[in-house]
Symmetry: C2
Subunit: 405 residues, 2 copies
């Protein structure tokens, strides 16, 4: 079976979609793109969404959850803004999100609960809905396949580059396209800036199947760069499936397996871009934890190490300080036995059975100076594994986040 | 009843103690003080200790726990070094700690289990015990009341100033002295550098009482700047009571209450110095969480906010970004209702019932530019409170921890 190939394109490369972006004045910076509209022209298109678990979920997230329920997994559009998160804005914020959805629905001739609303930017400042409403006619005018590549740029906040990927393959003889865009930045983990991703596909997938597949893809991608429960107020991953390719995805078939792989690939590609764009980050490291007593222990160790500021600053400095890694594993909450732990960087043993592995300092520093690392931690206590991506922690992180904005 | 007064002095100001420090060559920097000996000249002196909960506890911590058990709370000396933590050093590290204790015991004519061993510095590098052993005769020679003020300086690693406090009061007509020293630095929370504190007193306190009182004092001080379970490999707080003042502390008496207050005051004064000296920190903030459903929720919210890099960088920048505070409370794991949350800085409302309180930006920035802040978070969900100290997160934190050492 042919695999998925990366191709040039945008959210509107899959059949049945158009999109556009515009500068609506929500961002303070003049003429900065900050409002996007993504539309599926196929009535009854399937939709699925995974949203933040933060108890202070923002108004647009509350509305998306409600709409997804009301429409039973059908949607036709996403209206997305950057510059203002519409979070911590109380009842007034919910009304703003509702107004935006309603106006888009009216304009497109669809139901209000078929419109997703998505926001990112400053928290706690009221979002002026008029800035959105007055741009809708213009957005409608420019909606097209050609304008779609602007969307990822309009989502950016502290991101340093737009994040986009398009994959193509064949399922049951039909060409299927999957496209995704994302914004991230922030320190990623644990207290990341908002992570947003919109995915389009022209496969035909029933809403329940799509929701299940999206959850699986997110668990193996975006959830590897952040923490379930430790999420921002606005995190959202939304997928729309037009069905226009004619390829039907039925659970349990090889086609479904193939589609799942493509969806996961899209999410992983975007997640990795987000880590690479971690505020001020210069390095990306995959942390592999092996040999834990159980899955929960493996996760705890992976997250404690990935999240340790001392480990992340050691990464930035190219310092083979494996002691900080063992220390973080030690306070992770998992009952590790420090005298059994091995730590390797790109295959080079730094620590074996809890003590210095006798490595050459210069050789180790050379490995740590690479831009992509694999740090493997063997606990030798059982058979459970976990992995997570992390980035280093540099001066620029402080510069970006300490500035008054 | 007279309260406790701060007085000039050192660990040897309480009667029955002598101490000294020396440059033993454990630190790389030549002539840097790195080895201390604290001795109680009263046979049968009481001892108590609270140690790290890290699963990768360092060799000296393992030995201290064992000695405290073996001696049933009696001790005569502490041998403490900086420059090497003797952590992640395996069985060889335990032998080193044992050798040091044994040599000190022999020299002083006490039992090996009456000697505490304490280390801080780099992790994962073998500690050369000869460097300690060969200095013991010199240390014995210079042991005195006069040499004791050098001890806190010999404990320093990335600390920018030595931390010491001496309190005096009267209990049952007798003058009682309490003295404490500490080292800290590190980002404090959550992944702090090693925190060590040694406390001496000339009160007469039975070991079991002393242990209980120390636990209470630590819970209201050092545990307010760090996390139970999220501790470094070496964290230790040790208290020795000579009884030489003649003031007997019996549980349930006003004298016991008084002594508990003094012990807590010593620990709080030292803990606050540690926060102030947080690597690169310029500000100290007391986070007061009120109105939680239960104590566990209150703790979770306090620690999530104190620990949020985005909150800490906002503090550094003097940015009244209350949204980051509500966001951190939202992912703390406590089921908060964001629409009920109030946030105040030094009494000024930033957020009321989850939305912008309409404060003047300039006035708020003025408050946030102060060196000492009180941030109060009212959840309005119940009657439980919690508090914690935190510091800001500046460029210097990265500079200190990213450097290869």
């Amino acid at each position: 079976m042919p695999s998925w190939n990366a191709v040039e394109g945008s959210l509107a490369t899959p059949k049945g979609f158009r999109a556009a972006a515009i500068a609506a004045g929500i961002k303070k910076k003049p003429c900065a793109l900050d409002l996007s509209l993504i539309v599926c022209d196929v009535p009854g298109a399937s939709a699925a969404g995974v949203f933040t678990t933060n108890r202070a979920a923002a108004a647009p997230v509350l509305l998306c959850r409600q709409n997804l329920k009301k429409s039973r997994g059908r949607a036709r559009a996403i209206i997305a803004n950057s510059g203002n998160a519409n979070a911590c804005t109380g009842r007034a914020g919910v009304l703003v999100a509702e107004q935006a959805a309603k106006a888009v629905a009216q304009m497109l001739g669809v139901q209000p609960h078929e419109v997703f609303v998505s926001s990112t930017g400053v928290i706690g400042t009221p979002l002026n809905v008029d800035l959105i409403l007055k741009q809708l006619p213009v957005l409608k005018e420019i909606l097209s396949v050609e304008a779609a590549p602007e969307v990822p740029r309009a989502m950016m906040t502290t991101d340093s580059f737009p994040k986009s990927v398009v994959l193509q393959s064949k399922i049951a003889g039909k060409t299927v396209l999957l496209a995704g865009v994302a914004k991230g930045a922030g320190m990623i983990h644990p207290n990341m800036a908002t992570m947003l991703s919109y995915i389009t596909t022209d496969a035909a997938v029933a809403p329940a199947t799509l929701q299940k597949m999206l959850r699986e893809a997110v668990d193996a991608s975006f959830n590897r760069i952040t923490v379930d429960g430790d999420t921002s107020t606005n995190d959202s991953v939304i997928v729309l499936a037009s069905g226009a390719s004619g390829a039907a995805i039925r659970p349990g078939t090889p086609g479904a397996k193939k589609f799942q792989q493509g969806l996961t690939d899209v999410c992983q590609a975007l997640a990795k871009m987000i880590v690479k764009d971690g505020e001020g980050a210069t390095k990306i490291a995959r942390l592999d934890v092996r040999g834990a007593r159980n899955a929960s222990d493996a996760e705890r160790v992976a997250r404690a190490v990935a999240n340790s500021p001392l480990v992340k600053t050691a990464l930035a400095g190219g310092d083979p300080n494996w002691g900080r890694i063992v220390c973080a594993a030690g306070y992770s909450g998992a009952p590790i036995d420090a005298s059994k732990v091995d730590v390797r960087v790109n295959g080079l043993y730094l620590c074996r059975r809890g003590v210095h592995a006798g490595f050459d300092e210069e050789v180790a520093k050379k490995e740590l100076d690479k831009n992509e690392l694999v740090i493997r931690i063997d606990l030798h206590q059982g058979k459970s594994d976990a992995w997570i991506w992390t980035c280093d922690f540099t001066h620029d992180y402080i510069r970006i986040n300490a500035s008054r904005s």
